[in-house]
């Protein structure tokens, strides 16, 4: 037997050699693939686009699709990266409020052409917005305050508003309010009149093509594979830098990193915190940064039936003061995040890091213990924390929950971890059946009222908070306030009310980072809804 083993060892040495030879044969076969010529006429982005369901502006409701729609469509107004408190002209050169704000009159640019060369007129604006309302799919919810649209003349259009006290201008910059060609869409079965819900047949075409005025136009979408955009020869914003843009589906982040390093893609959108850390010192790869308006937050129920201890405000605040917020940002996010005070992310509604310093929760274990004692639970209590079995902005809910569990244990609060499937979590959470959850918020547009009203309406129901009228009044007043400084003051007042309540604990607001090759420049990220200013990206000089 010993003899046999010796032989086997000797033979396995030789077999390793054969395996290597075998591997080289396979490799040689693979080399038949032509080398990737990096043609700078073409911009290639590596993105996980597996969530994309459609690109019809009247139906689109996914996370990755606005990257495309932001490049192929324009809206009446737009927002510059970082400046989300206000809008700037885009297809409209100006606007004025008429009839006590019930009507907004937009003046359109007169030099805009669609990619097919036909001119943009007020008819196209009316068609696009009417279709949004009448197709009645998901984006229509953002247009609830829009009554109707009327053409005044070729380059003037009136939007009728149901409730002038509710803000609308920032919403108009969102991808849902894209303006597209009536002629092109109607030729494909597009309908904008009442009944469009049933009669409109243009979605299939709009999923493969676009009918807009943006720097590029869509020529192909192969599901789970790629999206192809072509230069718009008639673009009103000047010469377009690339002939083509290919949005390549690469679902796995490690494969995205390899493709970027090999020069097959110019930008990798979905890298993890660890992968980005390995690129920090790379001479060949740049990292574009942009503060998002997304955030990860934790809720605590007000309902004593669900959890007797959490029913007491002091106990909820004790939880809020026992979390090591800096540790979460430093260790789980690699420092690439900020923290807003409460439901309004930093960058909108007067929410800033200074405000966090002033009125934000901070880690203070003594205060936490005092609050527990005041609530009559000096030895702490226990509650169930639910979250999805999923990754989140480069980390995972599991890691976050474990971190919070160990933080709270310091003051005697026991956290029972309850991971579950994402849809199941949403079902329980929206049904108001959870004691506490960690989840994610991604806004459809940077209008502060969208966050504020959610926090006192549907999300308040989920945490079973009976919102007092005075809170509702402050939020309504903030929405109706046109003066930015006064508006910020009102939102701050509202934020203080949320802080005293202790139902929402904001954990972090990530800074999105996208790794780009040095073959391109002016890669500007935006949090306005379409992730990147596609028209800005140029080949490096």
């Amino acid at each position: 037997m010993p003899g046999l083993r010796t032989i086997a060892r000797e033979k396995s040495g030789r077999s390793a050699l054969r395996m290597l030879v075998g591997g080289l044969v396979v490799a040689a076969f693979a080399a038949m693939a032509p080398a990737q010529a990096q043609d700078k006429q073409v911009l290639v982005l590596g993105v996980d686009i597996s969530d994309a369901r459609n690109f019809d502006p009247a139906r689109m409701a996914d996370y990755s699709s606005p990257i495309t729609n932001g490049a192929v469509y324009d809206s009446l107004v737009t927002q510059k990266p970082g400046a989300y408190e206000d809008v700037v002209p885009s297809l409209a050169t100006g606007w004025e409020r008429l009839d006590d704000g019930q009507r907004i009159r937009f003046t359109l640019r007169d030099d805009v052409k669609f990619w097919d060369g036909s001119p943009l007129t007020a008819e196209d604006v009316k068609f696009s917005l009417d279709r949004l309302l009448n197709v009645k799919d998901q984006p229509a919810v953002y247009a609830q305050n829009l009554e109707k649209t009327e053409v005044v003349d070729e380059h003037t259009v009136d939007l009728y508003i149901k409730n002038p006290a509710e803000p609308i201008m920032i919403n108009l910059a969102a991808p849902a309010f894209a303006i597209y060609s009536r002629a092109m869409t109607e030729a494909q079965g597009g309908v904008s009149t009442p009944g469009a819900e049933q009669e409109d047949k243009a979605t299939q075409w709009l999923n493969q093509n676009s009918a807009g005025t943006g720097p590029y136009h869509m020529v192909q979408w192969e599901r789970n594979a790629q999206i192809m955009l072509q230069k718009n020869p008639h673009y009103w914003g000047g010469e377009v830098p690339f002939e083509r843009v290919v949005i390549r589906h690469i679902g796995d982040s490690a494969a995205q990193l390899l493709a970027l390093e090999n020069g097959d893609i110019d930008a990798a959108f979905n890298l993890t915190t660890e992968q980005l850390a390995t690129l920090e010192d790379s001479a060949d790869i740049d990292i574009a940064r942009g503060l998002s308006l997304d955030y990860v937050y934790m809720t605590l129920t007000s309902s004593p039936e669900l959890n007797e201890a959490l029913g007491k405000t002091e106990n909820r605040l004790a939880v809020a003061h026992a979390i090591d917020y800096d540790g979460i940002i430093e260790h789980l996010m690699g420092g690439n995040a900020v923290r807003p005070v409460n439901f309004l992310p930093i960058g909108v509604g007067g929410s800033t890091e200074e405000l966090l310093e002033r009125i934000g929760y901070r880690e203070d274990l003594d205060k936490s213990r005092e609050l527990l004692a005041a609530a009559g639970n000096p030895d702490g209590f226990s509650f169930q924390l639910s979250y999805a079995n999923a990754a989140i902005v480069g980390t995972s809910y599991q890691l976050l929950a474990q971190k919070i569990q160990s933080d709270l244990a310091r003051v005697g609060i026991t956290v029972e971890l309850n991971p579950m499937d994402q849809v199941q979590l949403r079902t329980q959470y929206t049904g108001g059946e959870t004691q506490s959850v960690i989840t994610f918020w991604n806004p459809p547009s940077p209008e502060p009222q969208l966050w504020a009203s959610a926090s006192i309406e549907r999300v308040a129901k989920r945490v079973r908070w009976e919102v007092p009228q005075e809170v509702k009044d402050v939020v309504a007043a903030a929405g109706a306030e046109p003066e930015p400084a006064k508006r910020a003051e009102l939102y701050t007042e509202y934020t203080e009310m949320l802080q005293a309540q202790g139902n929402y604990i904001l954990l972090f607001q990530p800074i999105y980072r996208i790794a780009t090759s040095q073959a391109i420049e002016d890669f500007n990220l935006t949090a306005a809804g379409w992730q990147v200013q596609m028209g800005d990206i140029k080949p490096s000089q």
């Binding site: 693939a33 998901q138 589906h249 796995d252 494969a255 309406e457």
Partner: protein, 337 residues
């Protein structure tokens, strides 16, 4: 024989109905609301929109009625409309299936073409170096986790050595060939686009090798064991005594007898490959059925889940039927019985 076929086909119909019923009940037992996988936060709080979505997919009906509607559609060749992609499930399946069929067929051929001869040689040259290599390969293939193996080969041949193309079915510079079958190798050959053919073939090498690894191991080991058994039989000894060439004994006499368990396993392996590519598809960004199945399952897209269940049930049953019928070719005794 014809009676046998009719009985088999009838039992297949029953099996398919049972399979769809089980999956239907399980997916409806999950305590989660499929509407919440589709609607945004604001939309899910809007009763009119929620009601419209429920009505559109018949989710407002009792569960048994939903199942009957599914069966009725099935009889008419209609799988219904996917909740998440909002287009007919059949269109989705027809779009994603070719990518998976192409990948798993190449992987299957690879594991048979390599696995069977390797198993035969390993059995004939028992305990030689080639037997050890075969054993090592099988061991790696069967035991290495697919996602790990997929990433290692991608990192090595695409990332490190840069001799293999990256994720996806084609390089960015190539457009897909004109659609005929959806299999890029076939379509590009039909169109005479040889550069696309070469590129598609190159893109297939890494994922199909990874996918083949598991089945290759199984086929090699099974072939080896079956060959060893066959080579120990009396007729082999008789053949040798008659002075037949060793090659004739192995190929004409031992191999056909050894192939029966291999065919059974091969059929199952092909079915497994066709329905179990999700990890490989994820790492190689392969736009196939695996990803579609995964997304449909996590988003509780009932029509899509049912369509795929039906398809998988049919694939397994048809392959099993073919396997059983092929016994008759390999072993005449089966027919006589």
């Amino acid at each position: 024989m014809i009676r046998y076929l009719i009985t088999r086909l009838a039992s297949m119909v029953v099996m398919i109905v049972l399979a769809t019923l089980v999956v239907f009940l399980i997916s409806h037992l999950v305590p989660a609301d499929p509407i919440l996988a589709q609607l945004g936060d604001m939309q899910a709080a809007n009763p009119a929109m929620v009601a419209a979505y429920r009505a559109r997919w018949g989710l407002d009906l009792p569960v048994w009625q939903q199942y009957l509607i599914f069966l009725e559609g099935l009889v008419h060749g209609n799988f219904g409309v996917s909740i998440s992609t909002q287009r007919p499930v059949l269109d989705d399946i027809l779009q994603y299936a070719p990518a998976t069929i192409e990948l798993s067929t190449i992987a299957f051929l690879l594991s048979v073409i390599v696995g069977v001869p390797l198993g035969v040689i390993a059995a004939v040259r028992r305990d030689s170096w080639i037997d050890h290599v075969a054993r090592l390969l099988s061991l790696i293939g069967v035991s290495a986790p697919t996602f790990w193996l997929a990433f290692v080969v991608l990192a090595l041949f695409y990332g490190g050595l840069q001799i293999a193309p990256g994720p996806g079915r084609l390089d960015v510079v190539h457009l897909p060939p004109p659609f005929v079958t959806g299999l890029y190798l076939v379509d590009s050959a039909l169109a005479g686009q040889w550069d696309v053919f070469r590129n598609a073939a190159a893109h297939l090498i890494l994922p199909s090798t990874v996918l083949a690894a598991t089945t290759l191991g199984l086929i090699t080991r099974t072939t080896r064991a079956a060959m060893l058994e066959a080579l120990g039989q009396d007729y082999v000894r008789v053949g040798r005594a008659k002075g037949l060439k060793e090659r004739t004994i192995i190929i004409r006499h031992a191999l056909p007898n050894a192939l029966i368990p291999v065919v059974t396993l091969g059929g199952l392996a092909y079915a497994v490959l066709l329905s179990g590519t999700v990890l490989t598809e994820t790492i190689f960004s392969w736009p196939g059925l695996g990803r579609y199945t995964f997304r449909s399952a996590v988003s509780l897209d009932f029509p899509a889940i049912m369509g795929i269940t039906f398809l998988v049930a049919v694939v397994y049953l048809v392959i099993n039927l073919i396997v059983d019928l092929s016994y008759a070719l390999l072993d005449p005794r089966v027919v006589r019985q």
